[in-house]
């Protein structure tokens, strides 16, 4: 797996133990209580963001950005892919697909076949776009609602 440490990346996987083997020696955070202690220019988040409220995730990510700290977020939660710029899908001990988040999400059939599905707002946008109700994909629910009504 090739990781660019200067781009925030989500690795969506069903086997975090296998993925963590690629990050031996890195600053790995597995406990949400340790998030505040991050002091590195690169950090591996091991399925911890799920314990935070959305607003706290945004504050935490902004803090990382202000300190120029990049991250890899390892998770099974498809909603979290929207926190980063790059997405790697890792199952069956290999990288299935990778690239900029939106490019990977366009491979919806592969994501559904692998069992991950799509983030809610992206999925809804996609279906509404398919049925001609909107002209684009929107990732903000307020913007999407304002387009419809």
């Amino acid at each position: 797996m090739n990781i660019n440490k200067s781009i925030n990346t989500t690795i969506i996987t069903d086997n975090n133990v296998k993925v963590l083997e690629y990050f031996k020696g890195e600053n790995i955070v597995s406990n949400p209580l340790n998030l505040k202690l991050v002091d590195s220019d690169f950090v591996v988040l091991n399925d911890v963001l799920r314990y935070l409220k959305d607003s706290d995730v945004q504050i935490f990510l902004k803090k990382l950005e202000s300190k120029n700290i990049h991250f890899v977020n390892i998770t099974s939660k498809i909603e979290e892919v929207l926190y980063a710029q790059r997405l790697i899908v890792y199952t069956d001990d290999k990288v299935q697909i990778e690239g900029p988040v939106i490019s990977v999400l366009k491979e919806e059939r592969i994501l559904k076949k692998l069992g991950f599905g799509l983030p809610f707002i992206y999925d809804l946008s996609l279906q509404l776009n398919y049925y001609g109700l909107i002209d684009s994909i929107y990732l903000d629910e307020k913007v999407l609602v304002d387009k419809l009504w």
Partner: protein
């Protein structure tokens, strides 16, 4: 905690609590999955011989396999490590389990998972702080984040969309299509 929750007369109960303490298991698989071990492991899709180095997914599945013989099944952070397809499978397993007069209690902070799985929701610190059977109950959101589908529907309805309250994206999609075409 379990005693308070058991008094609630619902089958699949979501308990949202700030601290979740995962159970610990002995190292011997045969001491963990004691009720119909082969069948239990098959139901949860777990194919392991020992408990060394379990992934979060395997740990979640092991919790369920270890509990299938109980009348009350309590699972902590169950959705962790599972992908959406697996979560949908286990939702059906829970529905089947509760048809046999069993109760399922899901202790989690994953509100997206709980919203589409549970009949009832309880916010718990040292006691039940709030409880409701309605995921669209605004009082819940003094304590937790809103699931994205609930947030979308509430905002849309504040704009006059008149959407039905649902946690099913396909039902929502049909409803949006109807409402937009009515206008």
């Amino acid at each position: 905690m379990v005693e308070d929750i058991l008094k609630l007369d619902f089958n699949i109960i979501g308990v949202i609590t700030p601290r979740i303490n995962l159970p610990s298991f002995p190292k011997d698989l045969s001491k963990v999955v004691t009720y119909k071990p082969e069948e239990s492991l098959k139901i949860v899709g777990l194919d392991i011989k020992d408990l060394d180095n379990l992934s979060t997914k395997e740990f979640s599945k092991l919790q369920l396999a270890a509990s299938l013989g109980n009348d009350v099944i309590v699972l902590y952070d169950f959705s962790k490590g599972l992908n959406r397809k697996e979560i949908n499978y286990f939702k059906l397993v829970f529905k089947r389990i509760t048809k046999h007069y069993k109760k399922v209690i899901l202790v989690s902070r994953d509100i997206e998972f709980l919203a589409t799985t549970c009949d009832y929701f309880a916010i718990y610190t040292n006691h039940i702080v709030y409880k409701t059977d309605n995921i669209f109950d605004d009082n819940l959101y003094k304590y937790i984040d809103m699931p994205k589908i609930v947030k979308f529907i509430k905002y849309a309805n504040s704009k006059g969309a008149c959407l039905n309250e649902t946690t099913d994206i396909n039902e929502l999609m049909k409803d949006i299509y109807r409402r937009v075409n009515e206008n």
